[in-house]
Amino acid sequence: MQLFDVLKPDVLFPLLLSMLFGVFVGAIPGLTATMAVALIIPLTYYMKPVAGLAMVLGASFTAIFAGDIPATFLRIPGTPASGAAILDGFELSKKGKGSLALMLDLFCSALGGLIGVVILITVSPPLAKFALQFTHFEYFWLGIFGLSMAAVLSRGNTIKGLLSATLGLLISTIGIDVTTGYPRFTFNVTELMDGVSFIPAMIGLFGLSEVLKRTSEKSRLQLSAVSEVVRPNLKETFAHIWNHKFTLLRGALVGTFIGALPGAGADVAAWVSYGVEKNVSKDEELGKGSVRGVIAPTSANNAAIGGTWIPALVFGLPGDSITAIVLGAMLMYGLRPGPMIFTQSRDLVTQLFAVAVLIQILLIPVGWLGIKAFSLFVRLKTSLVMTAVTIFCIIGSYALRNSVFDVYVMFVFGLIGYVFEKLRIPLAPMILGLILGRTVEDNLRVGLIKTKGNFLPFLTRPISLALFVMIVLVLIVPPLTKTFSKKKV
């Protein structure tokens, strides 16, 4: 039976290697899952297609999980998809519950990933058809919903949060304007033509600024960076997962769907899932170290990976930057992605699905190894850990485009992050502005080009309207109910 071919060493061995590689890449800030896949692909040309694709899947699932490890311990997201994990995960870690947060991350990543894969296996074609209905008008509202999360992230400090988010939005306008081809705010610097690279900015804001902060506190440099000894408490972990099973399910469903949209990937999925959780659960602790805040984004970003393969397999259209690379590799393997792949390469697709499920099981031991190794590292003296973090901040921002300019960008954002922290201005809204600024602006403007300046389709297209109504309700209903219930009293 060809299904069990995936358990043979010529698939299993490369898969395990790629997963170990994925943990490494994911846990190091600046090295992203996309980069891992781009590095792996040239190696796979000499393998069986299923082994090559298994390596890609293995690396992407593990890297997206592993990005949460530094986010939890050091508040430095390992990959852009772990942006939301710096909130509750890090807060838990500060309270000495880092191992709980990471155990939850690990199991919810595997379970979320599994749900994503099951959806990929069962309802790909109709879901892909529905996702194609989304165009600029709908992506605009999705971006607006994501941006509204800035309000959550700056609770108790609205003005400062707004300042931070606006600065992020402003920075996102730098670069060639896609609608006119005009370079905005680039001052003839070629490196700025594509805008400020998001990854160096993120590493600077969270990574370098953390280094600056800790080194400015002389007394702590001799202590270990994270004092907690990592011990798995399976009973507690499973109890939490069981209590928040609907959070997990919601996260996974939202994640898979956002992943399936060709215009959004795991990073957006994590934020939207966090936002959905905030509105559904009404958990006041969210953002201050709530397990919900860990489970929702981590199950969403791993589920999103399954989601991104839906348009890739069904239409041959990339769901994110990873599947874009994979589609190119498939041509090299002699495969033609698109609706016919399910009939023409049926064995391969079946094996691929089997591999994807297998990865979720293997993720537990491999991920645990990653957590353990990283926790040994952060238990070193702060001075050593921070030196290593600085080195990786530099390497990571350079490696993205082999560009020294991006290293400068990282340093500048490191200083911005440090100063903002001193002034108690929250950093997360700025990242939201940076990620979603382009999404909102480009989709609005391209949408208006399509309609020749008419705003109505943003409100009259069925899906747009539904999204708009949902956002309005989310923003208006809670304060309204609050006032009404007060009046009754």
């Binding site: 370079p183 490196e191 874009a324 399509k450 020749k452």
Partner: protein, 319 residues
């Protein structure tokens, strides 16, 4: 004394000769101005592998992305002209300086060899009402402003291909609306979702969608029919004098020693004529077009002027 000096001079001369002939003596970098995993990157990596085998030194690909290709082309052009930095140049070298994105022009390079050319196609959804390009063009003439075209960013190559085609067919480029996207793949998403009507992009980038019957090509903007789609007519057959497409080749910084250029040119031409290259290009849906150094230079020069006109027509010309 004199004899000693003579021997020394001779020795030096021999060593110099050996130096030149001994290229490459250390690893060579190939700069790819586009991202890892994309079409240009795959081609760069294939050439790098073959060159390593042929010339006995590792050739490594470095992706220098950004600025719509400006960053990588600049890095390649301003490298030392010693033959140890090659650049996989793409069509953008002939367009981006006209748009004010860079001061770099095609004259900054010495050209080694062109290996690829991919024509643009006129692609519509499978269930679109137009059976031929003529149907489409007549419909556009009858309904100016009604139809949405897409394929890449504003002023990008596929936008220019569209402008040139409409102009050559006697239709104002303003008769259709260009929906800017970040590339051909998102434009095809828009096409299959029914959000735009026509995509003009490289036939190679839409091979999966056309072969699986989700989309149809009405025409190719080439001088000859595409070997993969022999049923699709060229614009010239339809009486529209316009060809457009992207191309790729290898170049070195201006001033690179001619012996080194010769070694590279011979090696790349040999690779490009091999069976393994042919099957690689076919697997990727890329077209093969080989032009040797001088011919490649003349071609780029001609392209530079040709695109200037189209950019002017579209209102993108900056200087």
């Amino acid at each position: 004394m004199v004899r000693k000096a003579l021997v020394l001079v001779l020795l030096a001369a021999v060593m110099l000769l050996a130096f030149a002939a001994n290229y490459p003596r250390k690893p060579v970098t190939i700069i790819c101005p586009w991202g890892a995993g994309g079409g240009t990157d795959r081609l760069a990596r294939f050439l790098a592998d073959e060159l390593s085998k042929k010339l006995g030194q590792p050739f490594t690909v470095v992706n220098r992305t950004g600025g719509g290709g400006a960053v990588g082309h600049a890095a390649g052009a301003y490298a030392a002209p010693d033959g140890y930095t090659l650049t996989l140049v793409t069509l953008e070298i002939a367009t981006m300086h006209w748009m004010g994105l860079t001061d770099l022009t095609f004259e900054a390079f010495d050209y080694i060899a062109q290996v690829n050319e991919d024509p643009a196609g006129v692609i519509v959804k499978a269930d679109a009402p137009w059976k031929t390009l003529e149907d489409l063009l007549n419909d556009i003439k009858a309904n100016p402003g009604k139809y949405l075209f897409s394929g890449t960013a504003a002023g990008g190559i596929w936008d220019l291909a569209r402008i040139g085609m409409l102009d050559a067919a006697g239709i104002s480029p303003d008769a259709v609306t260009w929906v800017p996207t970040t590339g051909a793949a998102p434009a095809l998403v828009e096409l299959l979702g029914g959000h735009v009507h026509v995509v003009t992009c490289s036939i190679a980038e839409a091979v999966s969608q056309i072969q699986s019957g989700q989309a149809r090509a009405l025409a190719v903007m080439a001088d000859e029919r595409h070997p993969m789609f022999p049923d699709v007519p060229t614009l010239k057959e339809l009486g529209i004098n316009w060809s457009a497409g992207t191309w790729r080749g290898v170049a070195v910084p201006k001033g690179t020693p001619s012996e080194i250029k010769k070694i590279l040119e011979d090696a790349i031409i040999e690779i490009a004529s091999s069976e393994s290259f042919k099957s690689f290009m076919q697997a990727n849906g890329f077209g093969i077009k080989i032009r040797r150094g001088q011919e490649f230079y003349e071609f780029v020069k001609q392209q530079d002027q040709a695109w200037k006109k189209v950019l002017e027509l579209g209102g993108y010309l900056q200087k």
